[in-house]
Amino acid sequence: MNKKDLPEIDRIIDAAIIDEAKRLQTASKAAKDRILSGVLVAGAAKETAKHNFPSANKPARGTIAAAITRERLQWALTTLSFAVATLALVLLVSQLRKTDTGSGTIQSVKPPATSAKAQASLCDTAKTGVTMKTVSATKPPKLLPWDITSQNVKPMFVAKTLALPNMGKLSFRASEREYPDNVDLDSVVAHDPALGPGWKVADWGDLVQYSLKHPIKELIDVIHWTVFDTNAKYPDLTTTNQFWVRYNGKNTLPEGEQHFRTSTNKEIVLRHFFVTRFHHHVPPNFLPHAEIEDNEIVLGSWYDWKFRVLAVRKENFH
């Protein structure tokens, strides 16, 4: 091997390596998604198996196969008895309905009486100065987040929110800076450059009140509220689409509803309320606590994040 040939030899080696690396890169793309889905699906299946057959790994008497068979048999018996009980219940209910129809006293499921009467009284123009746009006795307005007919949630909390005296036009403004969840929101509102003493932390109820009088689009335009992009691979949490708010005067979820950081580490974290804008498309793993205008904006709760704070004009509440 001559020394003068060395650069040429190195060039050939490098070219071969680059060429092969590119080829392997292409091959890796084909394998990438396949393996990821395989890992997640197999992982989920193993976890389900563990859940359904917790003692499958402990051979007691007889062979492992026999133990698994016993587990499966138990599971099948449980499922069967549950199915029989459900069937019996369905038959019983249908029988009762038939009886009612015959005597002319059929009980149809009506929306709870709160919808029409309570809302009408709470939003009476004479009492509160609010003129509702779409309230009717037969069809509750779509924009109400506590439409209970489908979710079976009692409206006790909502009644309190509606009962807030609502005078004049509400003005909303977002803080200039972003803040972690554990700060004193009142102090933030008092000292943020964009806000000040005239403002208070917005409550979800304020947004609801506002939505009763105005299209929520007006508020969205005022604070330049962008949409949370749920189609993105890693949905982007930015300070332009999330704001800390309060819910019924509280910053965090009630006790007992807090989140455990991990299953092994039982550290409790406080989940703070925030609002985000989904523009009607809520991701499947997001559980909204409440929503306005068919999930145009949504109330959620989370921790360990920095958002801006949504504030509302204080004097409007006197």
Partner: protein, 200 residues
């Protein structure tokens, strides 16, 4: 009963994982509510490099897929027990695990022996059936296993010699010697190849 008495499952607000460092991603993988997305982010970050490493090390893409499937499966299944790993060591952890799996496979299939056999260049093959590049790649595959792994980590995976020494648990001096020897053998092989081409 209030609105909150509904069971609250996962919540949603997913952080921007691309900006998280490896160690943070591992912590997020331990959090059940964010495990899938954080795992996917870590997977995206390292899959390609690990695949190239294993495929080249084993000389077989299908076997590399098997190795990676079991590696990522292990990471996923043991996510609740992964201890804190410092930033920078996550990469080492993944590559070391992959390396051990590759070595196990090579040992079990007795491929390790083939790596130590000197490459014999077949004149006919060189002139007719194989392109120059392919012969170079064969020469790499034919390197003794210890030299080959240093060469692959250095040339294909972009590890520095110092990183390789940490990864393999060998001294920096030893790694340097292996790297130089691998390059020397390769150059000699390619030189022979060139001579054959010249003579023909």
């Amino acid at each position: 009963m209030s609105l909150f008495e509904r069971p609250i499952r996962r919540i949603c607000t997913m952080p921007k994982f691309e900006d998280q460092n490896d160690s943070d991603l591992l912590s997020l993988i331990r959090d059940e509510s964010q495990a899938v997305v954080a795992f996917s982010a870590l997977y995206d970050r390292y899959f390609e490099r690990l695949f190239i490493h294993c495929a080249k090390f084993l000389g077989n893409a299908a076997e590399a897929e098997d190795i990676l499937q079991s590696l990522w499966m292990r990471v996923w299944e043991t996510r609740g027990y992964i201890i804190d790993i410092d930033e920078g060591n996550v990469k080492g952890f993944l590559f070391t695990t992959a390396r051990h799996k590759c070595l196990d496979l090579l040992k079990s299939s007795a491929k390790a022996k083939s790596g130590s056999i000197d490459l014999v260049i077949d004149r006919e093959a060189a002139s007719a059936d194989y392109a120059t590049k392919e012969l170079v790649l064969m020469a790499i595959d034919a390197l003794p296993i210890k030299l080959r792994e240093v060469f692959i980590l250095n040339e294909y995976d972009g590890f520095t010699l110092e990183e390789i020494s940490n990864l393999l648990g060998a001294s920096l001096n030893a790694v340097k010697k292996r790297s130089e020897r691998a390059k020397k053998i390769l150059r000699e092989t390619v030189s022979k190849l060139l001579e054959i081409n010249v003579h023909e």
